[in-house]
């Protein structure tokens, strides 16, 4: 084999090797992306009312399991029933996520069917004393409290609403 032929073969081998590496990298990247997608899909469902089949358990065992699920998913809600609206547009909602709660919370302030404010995550033991909605007026409103999954921060369980009154601070 001449030197030129040998060099050509060598080049060809390197090219094939490089292509092979690139293909292997692409496959590896696809695998990583696929695994990541599967992990994201494997979050807990945001349960509210759920149905499960319990096989091989007595009625008493099933009842105990249902009761345990309820106990472990209780949430304490604490908000001001009368929220003062000051001249700056701040509303004193005093939303408290009790320290004994298992779940972070998020709340929405709703008036006339419109969400005028949505909070970030409130960890157990934390308080949001006031918020600044886009717009609000004195009168009836609703605070909706949503429990969040501690790991994924996705909605956990059913939300709870509280009827409150917005009162202008100088009228209180």
């Amino acid at each position: 084999m001449t030197d030129t032929a040998a060099a050509t073969c060598e080049d060809r081998r390197r090219k094939i090797g490089r292509i092979g590496q690139i293909v292997a990298l692409i496959i590896l990247l696809l695998c990583i992306l696929f695994l990541g997608w599967k992990v994201l899909q494997f979050g807990k469902a945001d349960e509210g009312a759920i149905v499960t089949q319990y096989e091989g358990m007595t009625r008493e065992e099933i009842q105990a399991e249902l009761d345990r699920t309820v106990r472990e998913n209780m949430m304490t809600v604490s908000v001001a029933p009368t929220a003062l609206l000051d001249e700056n547009g701040d509303v004193a909602v005093n939303v408290i996520n009790e320290e004994s709660n298992r779940f972070p919370q998020r709340f929405s302030l709703i008036q006339d069917g419109e969400v005028v404010y949505r909070s970030g995550t409130i960890d157990p033991g934390k308080t949001v004393s006031s918020c600044h909605p886009d717009h609000i007026s004195a009168g009836p409103a609703v605070i909706e409290i949503q429990a969040l999954d501690p790991e994924s921060s996705e909605d956990h369980g059913s939300p709870t609403r509280v009827d409150i009154s917005i009162v202008e601070a100088d009228e209180s």
């Binding site: 209780m74 604490s78 709870t160």
Partner: protein, 198 residues
């Protein structure tokens, strides 16, 4: 407990709270009274009552689990464990219950006769006023604001909680109910301070 007794106790509980607040307000109003004309050793004192802005506080289940039996019966948790419990210094009441079905489940008045895949019916509420999820899934939910069975006394009062009975049925289930189970609906409760509106 009779309704009259309950209302009497509620009034006593509210009165106890109001008297406490009135006592705190008595000092400045006595000073005002002294600015008025007072003869002898008697005078007048204005006593005012102001609603305390203590938080409304209660505990509530975020999940109501059911177990499905082979015949389609749904078994719910024990009522004494499934509580809405008032932790406030004043009475509160549930004003609304609304339910939103979770696809592919379909809420029906009667799952057994619904004739559709993944039909479900379930009922939730205190023993004297159990409510149907299908009705609660209609627009606006179920207005409970005038129903005394959804009242709760101030924390520590004799009726400071509501025990929720739960039961129902499913039929033609095609959803896999093993493992963590399946979400069939979201139940949203609305709570307000005070007692029911007669």
């Amino acid at each position: 407990m009779s309704a009259r007794t309950t209302r009497t106790r509620n009034r006593l509980g509210t009165l106890a709270c109001s008297v406490g607040v009135a006592c705190m307000l008595a000092s400045p109003t006595i000073a005002l009274a002294q600015d008025k004309v007072v003869t002898g050793t008697s005078g007048t004192t204005d006593v005012t009552v102001q609603t305390s802005n203590e938080n409304i506080k209660f505990s509530i289940p975020t999940i109501i689990p059911f177990a499905a039996a082979g015949d389609g019966e749904l078994v719910g948790p024990t009522a004494s464990e499934t509580l809405i419990k008032n932790l406030s210094v004043f009475g509160i009441h549930v004003t609304n219950m609304s339910v939103e079905e979770e696809a592919p489940w379909v809420l029906a008045p009667d799952a057994e006769t619904a004739g559709r895949d993944n039909s479900v019916d379930f009922q939730v509420g205190p023993s004297l006023n159990v409510r149907d999820a299908f009705n609660a899934s209609q627009e606006g939910g179920i207005d409970l604001s005038d129903n005394e069975n959804w009242d709760m006394d101030y924390a520590g009062g004799e009726s400071d909680s509501i025990q929720l009975e739960t039961y129902g049925n499913i039929s033609h289930a095609t959803v896999d109910l093993s493992g963590d189970g399946a979400k069939i609906a979201t139940i949203s409760w609305t709570v307000a301070p005070g007692q029911h509106v007669s």
